[in-house]
Amino acid sequence: MKTAALIWTWIEERFDVGELIAPLRSKTVPRHRFSIWYLLGGITLFLFFVQVLTGLLLLLYYRPSTQEAYESVQYITTRVQFGWLVRSVHFWSANLMIFMAVAHMFSVVLLRAYRKPRELTWVSGMLLLFLALGFGFSGYLLPWNTLSFFATKVASEVAGQVPLVGHALLVFMRGGEDVGGATLARFFSLHVVVLPALAATLLMLHLWLVQKFGMSVPPSVESHWTEVPEVRQEVRFFPDFLLRDLMAWCVILAALLVLAAALPAELGHKADPFAPTPFGIKPEWYFLAQFQTLRLLPAKIFGIEGELIGVFGFGLAGALWLALPFLEGRLGRNGSRWVRAAALLGMVYLGSLTLYAYFAK
């Protein structure tokens, strides 16, 4: 321990690390009955790093072509040492990351952390969530198995429903009229180059904003604290809160390992573009609610394609939700109640439709 101290002093003398991390050391995190929700963002961040690491490892052996994609994933899971673990962890971490990001988003809404001055933090976070969904969508196709092939086909057909630009959008997504090698090439570059670059930039902005404004205290707690200043509680970010973060990460990492070992990611069968669409094709669970909505909508609503209305509905809901901090003020005195109601409704809607689609035939 003496050596460690000596090394630390040596570094300290030259680089003044203490000065560098001073803002972190003086940073505090409010402590109240909702503090546990502060962990969700950190967990999502940790899972993102797991994705980067395992993604880099998968890149060593993966080959993005229709002839080789499936075989290379098979090769990774069967021939490469611990390849099964890397792929399964990547798979489970992706799913958990999206789940945690969604949970983080709803906790922010319910704790009203998107209020002034944190509007841009909210917007950057929402954009990151959309990117995460993009990661999931593009990554799903990469193993080139039957399920992912047809799920991508169906999803891009939905995009083709958009009026005027629909067909152009479909061709842009597929890189041609059909899902094929060009689609795989596009999705691959999107998954490993475009989205990571965008996500890294946005993530830095998001973290900087979080750092700048500190943790938001829910209005109910804040008002109580203003009334009774003695009950205000804070903990240091370093090391107290960071240790809690680390503990959460340990739990998540352990869960990832258990899931990867007990329920390894399946590969299915290689996609056959000439085969008929198999019965009961479903997208990944995080698109199930949208998928089921489109299925439940009638073919025509007031003479317009039901699917079209559905697609527009999602677009509109997403845009409104993104602009949430700016819209709340316009809703008048009861704005926050409306937002809370919308969030609860959204959770019930997404949850129930996802379950319905999951168990539906």
């Binding site: 321990m1 003496k2 460690a4 101290a5 000596l6 630390w8 002093t9 300290e12 203490g18 003086s26 505090t28 490892l57 060593l60 052996y61 080959r63 002839q67 080789e68 499936y70 075989e71 290379s72 090769y75 021939r79 490469v80 040492q81 611990f82 390849g83 673990l85 890397v86 804070e234 240091r236 340990c250 290689k270």
Partner: protein, 162 residues
């Protein structure tokens, strides 16, 4: 600004040294478990980085054999993807290749030099050297493959759909 109970020592090193015994023990435990966690996680990653000896195979073409391995008027079965396939060298020296899965009940067919036909032992089905079913119960021809000789190696690939 919130306050922290103990007065901040001038440097981290002094702080560590100044810390009380139980706290120091907890820190040691923490460091130990951190190192072992990282170690046990790095081990599979390092093993993952070692390339496995066998090369990555593709389902669209396969190494069927070597030049000189087959005498004229003989054949061999090899693995193509997950199914057996047949490589035949005709009496003229030309190579032909087709699926070795009989279209009748899925037995593995073989080349018969005596009749210069492809023959299924299960029900005596016969195919000609283009894979066409010419005798016995097989209802359909055997899917034929393209053969390409690259140097000393004979590769077989699925017929490209025009």
């Amino acid at each position: 600004m919130s306050t922290i109970a103990s007065a901040a020592p001038t440097s981290r090193g002094e702080q560590l040294i100044a810390s009380s015994m139980p706290r120091r023990r907890a820190l040691l435990l923490l460091m130990g478990s951190l190192v072992s966690s990282l170690g046990t996680l790095c081990y599979p990653i390092l093993r993952y980085l070692i390339p496995p000896g066998e090369t990555n195979s593709s389902a669209n073409d396969a190494l069927a054999g070597m030049v000189g391995e087959l005498k004229p008027n003989s054949g061999k079965t090899f693995r193509f993807g997950s199914r057996p396939a047949l490589l035949v060298r005709l009496a003229t020296g030309e190579y032909r290749s087709m699926s070795a899965v009989c279209t009748h009940l899925g037995c593995t067919v073989q080349y018969r030099p005596e009749t210069q036909q492809i023959w299924c032992p299960c029900h005596n089905g016969c195919y000609d050297l283009n894979g066409r079913n010419v005798g016995g119960p097989p209802p359909r021809p055997l899917p034929a493959f393209d053969v390409e000789v690259r140097g000393q190696e004979i590769y077989v690939s699925r017929k490209q759909v025009a």
